[in-house]
Symmetry: C3
Subunit: 290 residues, 3 copies
């Protein structure tokens, strides 16, 4: 194998005049979120924090109206409910018809038949531009044996520097199969399309000690997808670095102040709202695999 990594600074990663965060704040994209009940407040606040605008709506009778006034759609299957499955289908098809970018977050796909079959049906009837989740969820999607444990990734599935190259191979196959960018979050984030792969080394273990960091990442990614449609792979990568770096900063502040995860959650939201392209440039750890 001749795969190697090239670290990228922001000047190489972004086009010279590109300020991805600033452009999102200026565009204030309105995102239709069909998302789980546990973290929907976090997702709404995270979207607002980075300059987007959320609308949560999951009733079958209104999702087409709602999608029509939005610019992007997020479908997250956490706390999946039979009543909202038709809503997901309708909203997804409507978003496809309107050419809005659509993101799927297959939360806990391995945890129940309902989640697995719903995801299969969604993938059949709706085109997703991006699928974002943890490595165990991706393995289930690819029908690779996984010991997925609830909604968290299984430790034995973790992407490490040792198994990175072999993971990229099947993740790119998953991208080819689904036609979607695959964004995997974990200690090492991997974002691939069928041809290219980026690695993000931001984030910290403490982020898994609060609920919703994955869901919030999906929500924020949906906003960036609207504004950076011509550079989807780079935008998804950039957002992964953004979320991870905010997590690092929040963790550091938590430790300095000798506080716990309640404060970590607050500081994470603080840094999401304070983040800009200049600050992220200093902290992002993005590599291109080639």
């Amino acid at each position: 194998m001749s795969i190697k990594s090239i670290s990228l600074d922001i000047f190489f990663f972004c086009k010279e005049d590109e300020k991805m965060i600033e452009q999102v704040k200026n565009a204030k994209p309105l995102i239709h979120c069909i998302t789980n009940k546990v973290t929907m407040n976090d997702c709404a606040n995270a979207l607002l924090a980075i300059g987007g605008s959320p609308i949560m709506a999951d009733d079958e009778a209104e999702v087409e109206d709602i999608t029509s006034i939005c610019q992007g759609l997020l479908i997250n299957i956490g706390t999946l409910n039979q009543a909202t499955i038709p809503s997901m289908m309708k909203a997804g098809k409507k978003a496809n018809a309107l050419q809005h970018p659509v993101l799927l977050d297959p939360v806990g796909i391995g945890a129940s038949q309902l989640r697995y079959q719903t995801t299969q049906q969604l993938l059949k009837e709706v085109h997703f531009d991006v699928i974002r989740g943890n490595i165990s969820e991706m393995k289930v999607l690819m029908n690779i044996q996984s010991q997925s444990r609830g909604v968290d990734a299984n430790a034995s599935d973790s992407i490490t520097d040792e198994n990175l190259d072999e993971n990229i191979i099947w993740l790119q196959q998953l991208s080819s199969k689904t036609g979607a960018i695959i964004a995997v979050s974990g200690a090492i984030d991997v974002i691939v399309d069928s041809q290219n792969a980026y690695i993000v080394r931001n984030g910290c273990q403490e982020m898994s000690m609060i609920t919703g960091t994955g869901c919030m990442l999906s929500a924020i990614m949906s906003a960036f997808m609207v504004v950076h449609r011509q550079r989807l792979l780079e935008a998804c990568t950039y957002v992964s670095a953004l979320m991870g770096y905010c997590g690092e900063l929040a963790k550091n502040k938590m430790l300095v102040e000798k506080l716990g995860v309640g404060s970590l959650r607050v500081y994470l939201m603080d840094y999401l709202s304070l983040m800009n392209d200049g600050i992220l440039k200093e902290g992002m750890k993005i590599e291109k695999r080639c």
Copy 2:
């Protein structure tokens, strides 16, 4: 037009011996909240913070029981769901029969036919004492052309000193038409009945960077409506100043500590619980239009 504003200090605004916040804390009114899934935790905590007591219940089979043990009812149509529409009707009629004050928050009424038609049906079958929302929602209610954008007010609809008088005219017509006090939140809050109008200049732009400030205001207003039924218009005005002033204090603390919107949200709740009639007296900016 001969409309002019008179600034009021608390001694003119309240009766001499009236301590609206203290009276709410003493009465601890129990409010039945049928509200949206995004901000229901915020609404419960906001009600507790100002000394009220929340009970969230939206199943058709129990809403009449729940309303019967409460003193006031809040209906908020965010994340509207077909299953809870009959619940709203039943609870509303029961509250009317029991002569409990009822508040309607028509969140995103312009965003879907489902929300629009449900609101029309609610207005037909239930008497609301107060309708609280943003200016775009009020325009939809009044069938005035609006470019409502999701659940947020449209910038072009904003109430300014220039268009204040003309806005008050149709808002008072909306009050006559519905029989409800109309409480509009924005850079300038306007609270009217068919005859009178109050203006509140508290609050700050940053409050729109966190989800739920409007929903929380509605929840708190519902508690004040129970305790101050003989002075509903003044109570709604006072609560608007209370919420806005807490937002100002929270913003200032956020800026002093160089934090972001996660902390803004925490501090807002802090100040709601720390606020009393004496502190609000120093910060409230209420005017009477006459």
Copy 3:
């Protein structure tokens, strides 16, 4: 009556080599939560904070799958919904079949017929290892006259040193009748089985000024029940002290920093994550009645 209290320090209360919190963190038990919409985010974060792992799922079509991959089950009837009643029954029976510990939190059982009858049905069809709630909820369960007010305990029901012994008697009868440990939270916590009784004097009034402290306690207790099945009564007692002591520490920090209930809520979560057996040993106030 010859009942008297014996204060216990941790060496008497726990077995010599027992570190209940550390053991939970090591085991990281996965808890299936069927819980209310108001506080589900708080419950998920509280479970993560003490080292457990939550999965929220309430659709009838998936609850058996979900329970099967978990180690414990929590059923909380706040915001009870007709659609999830069959889910509660199915999950409860499945958990019983798999011999997973099951906790019932009968939130607001006195507030509606729906909640009362559902709880009766649950008690008939599912075996609960622990029932946790406030004293008014327990009185309704025992068919004792109570003026339960919404979801909060009625002041006239409060357990005091004066009525402690007589309350313990009927609470032990309730334990015999249901076959469950009864864990009552309030100014004085009482945790009984049919034979034994523990008292916990931790906690503070301010905890009732934020929503979800009871729900979070139930969620955390569910995790401890998985890991300490051989010592359920002691584990439930220990968790009550843990939650109460975290509340005391959070209150103290709130007062020192002159902040309000928004910060109280954040600090409570902070201390849940920072708590360990050594710290709790210093602060716990547990007594055995004998």
